[in-house]
């Protein structure tokens, strides 16, 4: 079974440019999450998709960030225009919708992350 795939693994851009990150979740996983880790800080929640719908986008920093999940499969996270403080590692994670049999336990499967550097 393929894991969560993120592309690109690294991206170096200049302030003001646009970058689009992609995440391919594990097939069949309804839940898709984006997280960000800024150096020295916690892994911070950005948003959560259930299929193609945004369930919770309370962690999105500002309107320069736009996430989509058309068709409920892969997701993209676009930063436009990028600022210096956007640098960090962006993680994607996916999971099954937990069931009563699983005790509503949701196990997150993470991608390798995209290292974004804004110069």
């Amino acid at each position: 079974e393929a894991g969560v795939t993120q592309f690109p693994s690294h991206s170096v851009i200049e302030k003001g440019q646009t970058v689009t990150l992609r995440c391919d979740p594990i097939s069949g996983h309804d839940n898709l999450y984006w997280y960000r880790r800024v150096m020295g800080k916690e892994i911070k929640f950005l948003l959560h998709f259930v299929k193609e719908s945004k369930q919770d986008e309370s962690g999105m920093p500002n309107n320069r960030f736009l996430a989509e999940r058309t068709g409920g499969t892969y997701s993209t996270l676009k930063v436009q225009p990028a600022e210096l403080e956007d640098s960090g590692v962006y993680f994607c994670a996916s999971s099954h919708r937990p069931t009563a049999r699983q005790g509503y336990y949701e196990k997150l499967f993470f991608g390798s992350g995209t290292q974004l550097s804004v110069l």
Partner: protein, 111 residues
């Protein structure tokens, strides 16, 4: 609001020595707590969760509601335990279930 605190950024221990990675949390309800680990050049992955009361790779963690802690312990550290460890809490925030991570602790096991 839910919060996870890992006070140590780096913990260095000798091989064979006991390990304790500290985690404290703040949450008004009954939390679900987890430890995630990221080995060098690998993905972040689940290590263990408090509900299952399991021991994985010799690690255990006990939820102490009185002290609001979920420290990760191992009696004898191995070199392969060197990695970045994140404590995480799953709870409701703003009406949604959300997983909140701590800042992580880098464990360095010295041969």
């Amino acid at each position: 609001a839910q919060r996870v605190t890992q006070p140590e950024k780096l913990l260095s221990v000798f091989k064979g020595a006991p390990v304790e990675l500290k985690c404290n949390y703040s949450y008004s309800g009954s939390p679900e707590l987890f430890w995630y680990v990221q080995y060098s050049r690998q993905r972040l992955q689940l290590l263990l969760r408090h509900i299952s009361r399991e021991s994985i790779k010799g690690f255990t963690a006990d939820l102490n509601k009185g002290e609001t802690s979920f420290h990760l312990k191992k009696p004898f550290a191995q070199e392969e335990d060197s990695a970045m460890y994140y404590c995480a809490l799953r709870g409701y925030s703003g009406g949604y279930q959300k997983v909140t991570f701590g800042t992580g602790t880098k464990l360095q096991v010295i041969p």
